[in-house]
């Protein structure tokens, strides 16, 4: 079975974000980019599934040459092949999904893993859109995954609990933290990944349905009052919460 995993290259969660000079994007200067944290769970699940059932794994990423770093990390963890869909400009979720769906179809992958969201635009949308475009069954925000023959059983995180979801192949699963413990790349894996070729392809041109008209800093929050240093100020805190904030 061919297993695909789609990965994105995003600012590290520890990065400070500044607005770019165009006022519509972020300033990439001084920002470290990493594998999208949720995609590490997707990579791990693809590897575990291959180890159990055999087959071949491919990582796909859409973006600039910089995304090769993330693809190399996937290769170093044990993914067999990597494809970069080379594209520079802005793409919205639908446009990203169209490019990924085309490549997944070209690869003939029956099982696809995504992270549940990229921690840049935070749409939590590309996985589900890609699945619909492919006509694949899809479970998002999975915290467990089991494949038995053709049958898939997942637990999906919801407010205050978990849904047990059943479906069949072909399928696309989006990974939530808790699905597994992503492995570290071994030294051998890292060395081997350096030698592997990353296939480069040009995706179909973007057809965006949305436009970012401005990117701004969040409204700044004024540092408030330090009330004191021990329990004697608790009555004052409670009074402020009741009378000033009116929240309790």
């Amino acid at each position: 079975m061919k297993i695909a995993v789609c990965v994105s290259h995003v600012p590290d969660t520890a990065a400070k974000i500044n607005i770019g000079s165009d006022g519509k994007t972020i300033d990439p200067n001084g920002v470290t980019y990493v594998v999208n944290p949720y995609d590490e769970f997707a990579i791990e699940e693809a590897l575990k599934t291959k180890e159990k059932l055999g087959g071949e794994t491919v990582a796909i990423s859409l973006g600039s040459d910089a995304n090769k770093e993330t693809l190399r990390k996937a290769l170093a963890m044990g993914i067999d092949n990597a494809v970069l869909l080379k594209d520079g400009g802005y793409r919205d979720s639908l446009s990203v999904a169209k490019a990924l769906a085309d490549e997944i179809k070209a690869q003939g992958a029956e099982l696809v893993f995504f992270g549940k969201q990229s921690v840049d635009y935070d749409n939590s949308a590309v996985g589900q859109i890609t699945a619909e475009l492919l006509g694949y069954n899809c479970v998002s925000v999975a915290v467990s995954f089991a494949l038995d023959g053709n049958k898939i059983t997942c637990e999906r995180e919801i407010e205050g609990g978990k849904e047990i979801v059943e479906t069949t192949l072909p399928a696309l699963i989006t990974a939530q933290k808790g699905l597994n413990e992503p492995r570290y790349a071994s030294l051998k894996g890292i060395m081997a990944a350096k030698k592997k070729e990353i296939a480069e392809k040009s995706p179909a041109a973007a057809t965006n349905f949305t436009e970012v008209i401005a990117m701004k800093r969040p409204p700044s929050k004024q540092a408030g009052k330090i009330l004191g240093s021990d329990a004697t100020v608790v009555p004052e805190l409670v009074r402020l919460l009741r009378e000033e904030a009116k929240v309790i």
Partner: protein, 322 residues
Amino acid sequence: MANKILVFIEQRDGQIKKSSLEAAKVASDFATKLSGSAEALTIGNEISNLNSLGGYGIGKVTHLKNSDLANYSPSAYTELITKFVNDNGFDILFFGNTSLGKDLAPRLSAKIDAGLAMDCTALNFENGEIIATRPVYAGKAMADLKITSIKKIFSLRPNVFNPGTASGNKAEINLVNVEAPNLNVKVTDIKKAEGKLDVAEADIIVSGGRGLKGPEHFHLVEELASVLGAATGASRAAVDAGWRPHGEQVGQTGKTVSPTLYIALGISGAIQHLAGMRSSKYIVAINKDKDAPIFQVADYGIVGDLFEVVPVLTEEIKKIKS
């Protein structure tokens, strides 16, 4: 442009979710602004109080009914909504950005070729167009977005849009029995975390971090949360250490929350944590370290020992609540 607006009403256990009332009010407000109309659609088995949507400006609600649809089915819901939207020519769809809305809205976007604005925290009406504001990079920046396609989908962050008080109006209910829904993807069971309020939906959150020093001290967080009727949250440090379940994690790789009150106990305020909770209306921080970044966003801070302060705070609140 006709501007036919549809709001999707989510039910769990036959009860309308609060986030759907918020979305209903937004939908009917935009119907007025765009000189259009707003209807509601819901899917499920038995659903209570559907006519109460009239109180939020909805004239008509269609209920697609089947006992197999009591729980969510991504495949069935997607197919049914797609058909309903195409048959009735809706242009604008609103969802609550809940676990169900987040799963469903993108699927619809693919099916009906609609531009998508997820997790909106503000919608403004400028020159006849809806401009959506949404947090990106977990709230470290805000993007203003315009949807350029004819069909548009907006998913609204829960707890942000105030539905106001319901008027006495009642909505007309259009009940449609659904035969043989597509159950290719089916929820067969729901495991509820006993008596737990989820951080993503809570009005008040009490969160604990590394300053609690170990899982055995989280009863301090739980007790304070309990007297406040709050959800319990945790920092990434506390979750990664295995002290708390991942579902409680607040921050960039956990949940992004906007409660009315957020109380941070022993949380220093790493950048990824602040990103996930800084839009809370009021923030209280209790931490020993006066230089902790959490104090830069806190409305009220106590620079002190949480082990001493928190039990007193819990007792004080218990007193005023009783």
